[in-house]
Structure formats: C-alpha cells, structure tokens
C-alpha cells in the first residue's frame, strides 16, 4: 500500500536527518541556558564533520572519528567561551568569527579529501525482532544506527538534568540572573564555560554524524547552514530539550516532505526551503511572545561583570 510505505520512509528519514539537528540543538540549549549565545555552532559542526571523516579514514574506525569530532567541537567552543566569558567580548561577533574560522579551516585542510570514499562508516542496525512491529518497527528499528538511539536517550537525560537537578537550577539561574547566582557563591564563569563546552561537544558530534554516519563523505561546506537552523530550533524549543526534540524531528519531516514536491517545483527553489522554513519557524514562535517574553534566558548574550564599586 503506497500510503504506509510513504509514511514509514518519511518518518524513518526524519529520524535520521533530525539527529544532527537535535544534537546541535541540545548543545545550544545548554549553552544559551547559561546565558551564552553560541553562534559558532556552524563552524564547530563543520570542523566536527571534517575531523570525524579524516580520523575515520586514517584509523579505519568510525567511532574514533566520532570521538575526535566531539573533542574538536569542544576545543573550538572553549575558544568561544574564553572570548565571551573571560574577555567579555561581543558574543554575536565571537561566534560568527569562529564560524568563519571553522568554515575556512575545514575548507582549507579538506581540500584533498573531497570525493574520497569512506569504508569505515557507522553501521546501520536492524533489530530483527522489534522491526516487525507494524509501523513503528520499520521506522525506529530498521536501518538506523547507534547514534540515533543515543541521541533519543539524551533528550530525557538532558531534560532531567536541566529541570530536576541542582545542576540544572544552577545553570538556569546563571542564565536568568548571573548577579543573583554570583551572590549565592556560584561561579558564573565556570558554569558558562562548562555549558558552552557541552554545546561544542554536541555540535562537533552532530557534524561527525553527518560525515561518518548519515551520508559518509566529505565536501567543503557540507553542513550547509545546519548550524544556523539549530539556533532557530533552539528558540523554537523555548530552550527545553523535549521541545527541541519535537522541533528537530518535525523540521526534518517537513524537509523530507517538501522534497516530494520535486515533481512540481524546481530543484533550486527546493534547496532554499529549509532556510525559508527556519524563518517561518521563528515567525510562528514569535507571534505573541513579544508581549509574553517567555523562554529566553534573561541574561542571554550579555557578558557578566561583577560590579565592584
């Protein structure tokens, strides 16, 4: 029956494509919850993609690639943390410069790597028993991989930490009112460094997934603005990991649905779609929130200085 296959394929692919979006969004949620705007996600993602691909190629082990991607993303984000938290620099421009750097570095070093095939990729998994479940089976348990599952499990974990633990309250208070947190003895700088670092690791992982699992290949600029979409999704998620999951998979689903329009709309215009969607997503979320102003951590994007005198 055509209908059923169509739903299964779309949802199954949404799961696959939504994973890097979700990974990036989860990381950005943590960074922004602590009050630091990280616009370097795109740069961290592409550096993650590049390092994962080359590491996997050289070592023959895709998981080494994933690990390297996380490390590279994390290191990159520490640079942003240093500029934003310690040097109290303009966070928008700091993130932008890191994205420029990431794109430039990966483009420069990646020159010889385009078109190289990657024999060592993250294997696709099919769980034979569970995949027989009607509808859900083929979507969730056929042809996905470990990273997809890990990402899904990350969502309740990160949600729980953020909303039900002391650590989460600490993070959120630093993002809402760093002065209050500071007066309670919390090290604003340390919390922000850690959160930005988490954001960087997840962004790197997201990029690594792209080049080693999703579509194993390296192309210059292969993230194609996914980092920016992640930032839009973070806003859409109201800085909540669960809504982030919804947003990421929903976006991925819309993305695939729209490609079905290939018969009627020219391919170039279709390529513009994810970016137009991201704008629409933001418009949808912003209607009315201008008055309510809910969600955004109050101190987002503002460097914190302890007022001495």
């Amino acid at each position: 029956m055509g209908w059923e296959t169509w739903i299964i394929t779309t949802l199954s692919r949404s799961l696959a494509y939504g994973t890097p979006l979700l990974l990036g969004t989860l990381g950005e949620i943590y960074a922004e919850r602590s009050g630091v705007l990280n616009l370097g996600v795109e740069g961290m993602m592409i550096m993650g993609a590049y390092s994962a691909f080359t590491t996997a190629y050289i070592t023959g082990n895709p998981w080494m690639g994933i690990l390297m991607a996380a490390i590279v993303g994390g290191v990159f984000s520490l640079i942003h943390a240093f500029a934003s938290v310690t040097l109290k620099a303009n966070q928008v421009v700091s993130g932008l410069s890191l994205t420029m750097l990431g794109l430039g570095l990966s483009g420069m070093f990646g020159r010889g790597w385009e078109g190289k095939p990657l024999p060592a990729t993250i294997p696709k998994i099919t769980i034979s028993g569970l995949s027989k479940i009607p509808l859900l089976g083929p979507i969730f348990f056929e042809g996905q991989n470990l990273i997809v599952y890990m990402t899904i499990l990350l969502v309740p974990l990160l949600w729980y930490i953020l909303y039900r633990t002391r650590i989460g309250i600490t993070i959120r208070s630093v993002g809402e009112s760093p002065a209050t947190a500071d007066s309670l003895g919390i090290s604003v700088a340390r919390v922000r460094y850690v959160c930005v670092f988490i954001g960087g690791i997840l962004a790197g992982l997201s990029g690594g997934y792209l080049s080693v699992a999703y579509r194993p290949a390296w192309t210059e600029g292969m993230t194609a603005g996914m980092g920016w979409i992640v930032i839009a999704l973070t806003i859409f998620a109201f800085w909540n990991p669960v809504y982030g999951m919804l947003g990421a998979y929903l976006f991925a689903a819309l993305y695939h649905l729209a490609f079905r329009l290939q018969l009627w709309v020219s391919p170039e215009l279709l390529k513009a779609m994810p970016y137009a969607f991201a704008i629409l997503v933001l418009i949808f979320v912003s209607r009315g929130t201008l008055q309510k102003r809910m969600g955004a951590p109050a101190a987002l994007g503002l460097p914190y200085t302890r007022e001495e005198e």
């Binding site: 932008l96 930032i231 513009a272 933001l282």
Partner: protein, 359 residues
C-alpha cells in the same frame, strides 16, 4: 630610595582614537602571527608569503587595480553595515542583499526596455530597492515580532543564493558555457565604464566614496543619526526620549540593504555584465564587509581605509594561490582570525592599567 610601583586595573571611560588604533594593530598583528603558523604548515615562510601578497596586491599596477576593484563592494557594504551595527541590528545578510541588488539590476538591464542612457541609473535604483527590500524583511520581522535578526538575515542569504541559482537555470537562462549557467549578456548601454585597462568600475567607486561621506555626516550631524546612535548605545534612554525603534530599525536596514544592493549592481554591471552563479558574483563580500565595518569601529569614513585593507587581503588570496600554490581558503581563515582578535582585544579598550609610585 625605596618606593613601590603600584598598578591597578580600572575601567577606562572612553578609549582615545590613538588607543583604538593601537589595539586594532595589535589584533591584526596577532592574526598575522597565527596565520603564519598555517603558512608554515604548507611549508611556506610567512614573511615571504606576506611579502608576495603586498607585492602582488600593491606593488604593481595590475595588482593595485584588482585590490581597488575588490574594495568597491566592501566599501559599499561596509558603509551600510556600520549604520546597521550602530543601531545594534546585526545584519549578517549583506551577501543576500548584494545578490538581490544584482538580480534587480539584471532585471532592469535585460527586460525593462528602457532607452540606453536611462539603463544604468535605473539599474542602480532598482538594485538599491532590491537590496533594501531584502534587508527590510528581517527588519520588519524584528520590530513587529521580535524575531532574531542574526538568523533571519542569514537565512535570507541562503534563500537569495538559491533564488539566483533558480533564475539562471530557469527563467533567465541564457547560453551557458563550460557547464556554468549564466543569463544573457547585458546590452552595451548597461555596462559600467571602467578605468582603462583595469576592472575598476569607477562610477560605483565614486558612489561608495560619496556615500561614505554622506553617512558620516548623517550619523554625526543629523537627527536621524543621533537617534541611531542612542538606540545603539542606550536603548532604554532611547525609549524615554521617544525615539521610535520601529522607524529607526527600518531606516537603518533600508540603508544597509540598499547599499549592499548597490554593491551588487556594481559587480554585475561592472565586472560580469550578466547574472552568474552566486559564488561567482560575490566571493563572500557580504561577510567580509562585516569585518570591514567592525575594524572601522563603525565609522563610515574609516570604512574607506578598511575596505582597501581587505581589498589587499582578498587580492592577496589570488596571489598566494597563483604564485605559492596555497589554497584561497587561507584568506578566509585569516579574516576569521582578524575578526576574532579584534573583538577579543576589545577588552583592552575597556580597561587600562594605571601606575602610581608609593614610598
């Protein structure tokens, strides 16, 4: 004689022009040093590379001409960006606004049916409007709905890129060559005159210089400029003073988008004479202009100098590619480094070390 030198770090009220200049130099120097590391990785001595770049981009007439012609779109976009940044509107969309200006100019050149002498002025007007509209959309979204300006302007870049791709592969498809798609070539009357023997389309250059001066006057000596500055420096005070965030934001993006659109007209009518693939029209001029504006400390007049500096750098990219076999991308890395060190060094502007002698 016993004495002790105490030094303490305290906030500097306002940094003097000299300090700002010095700190900018430090930032550029830091970028040169780190970029030097990358040159070393490719087995090239950084000193030699920088010598080659300077010689290639300033030392001979061809190189100098190329430097200037690269500076033209940087100048126009950069001036526009200083206005937007002053009002704290993060216009990352100059790239897309430039492309839409080029599209509008192409439309006028190929389809308006205007008589010869009217074509170029109409193209500039059309290009300005094209870029302005493209910039006003994110501006309206920000003032009415509070939508984040960084994301919207960026996303509009991608939409513009694919819009151009669609045009040259679809409705405006002309004869193509070597697998690249182009539109038809413009009629002769739509070609911008260039300085003999170079690719410097001087009308756009003059336009850029004039607009830089005009914007300097606007920002510093007019009421609108005053409103823009207050919104940027103290949004709360602006509200109490009755300054309309709505009107000011729309004004700055009208200007910023429009200027980028003008840059697009210059590129398309001065260099290419037809609509091409987006990456051939603009090699990241819109993004590089952000650094140009930032280095100019958002002063429209200073953009004249910083755009020339980055013209040298971009020209240098060609030089290192051709004579040293290095990837052009190294220039993008260099630009990213400059921007990073620029904002990282701003802390030096906010604090100073003062010494006092104590017995």
């Amino acid at each position: 004689m016993t004495g002790r030198v105490d030094f303490k770090i305290e906030r500097r009220p306002v940094a003097s022009g000299f300090i700002v200049f010095l700190v900018s130099l430090i930032a550029i120097f830091a970028a040169l040093v780190v970029a030097g590391i990358f040159f070393r990785i490719y087995g090239v001595s950084p000193i030699r590379a920088y010598q080659q770049i300077l010689r290639g981009s300033l030392g001979n007439s061809f190189g100098l001409a190329e430097t200037v012609r690269r500076a033209i779109p940087l100048l126009l976009c950069g001036v526009g960006l200083t206005i937007a940044f002053r009002a704290l509107f993060w216009n990352i969309g100059a790239e897309g606004q430039l492309l839409m200006g080029a599209v509008a100019a192409t439309g006028v050149a190929l389809f308006s049916g205007l008589p010869g002498p009217l074509l170029l002025p109409a193209m500039f007007i059309g290009g300005f409007i094209g870029g302005a509209v493209w910039g006003l959309i994110p501006a309206i979204l920000k003032v009415i709905l509070g939508v984040n300006d960084v994301i919207t302007t960026l996303m509009m870049n991608y939409v513009a890129i694919y819009f151009v791709e669609w045009l040259i592969h679809g409705p405006w498809k002309g004869p193509s060559a070597r697998g690249f798609a182009y539109s038809d070539t413009f009629p002769r009357a739509a070609w911008l005159p260039t300085i003999y023997g170079t690719r410097i389309h001087w009308p756009t250059l003059v336009l850029g210089l004039v607009l830089a001066v005009v914007m300097y006057i606007l920002v510093n000596y007019t009421r609108s400029g005053f409103e823009i500055r207050v919104i940027g420096e103290n949004p709360d005070a602006a509200k109490y003073a009755g300054i309309s965030q709505f009107k000011t934001t729309l004004l700055v993006m009208f200007i910023s988008g429009g200027f980028a659109g003008l840059a697009g007209v210059g590129e398309i009518a001065g260099i290419h004479m037809r609509l091409l693939g987006p990456s051939h029209i603009s090699m990241g001029y819109g993004y590089t202009a952000i650094i140009v504006a930032w280095l100019a400390r958002r002063n429209p007049l200073a953009v004249i100098i910083t755009s020339l500096l980055f013209g040298v750098i971009m020209s240098g990219g060609d030089v290192i590619k051709v004579s040293l076999g290095l990837p052009f991308q190294l220039i993008n890395v260099f630009n990213g480094l400059i921007l990073f060190f620029l904002i990282g060094s701003e802390i030096l502007l906010r604090y100073k070390i003062s010494f006092s002698l104590r017995r």
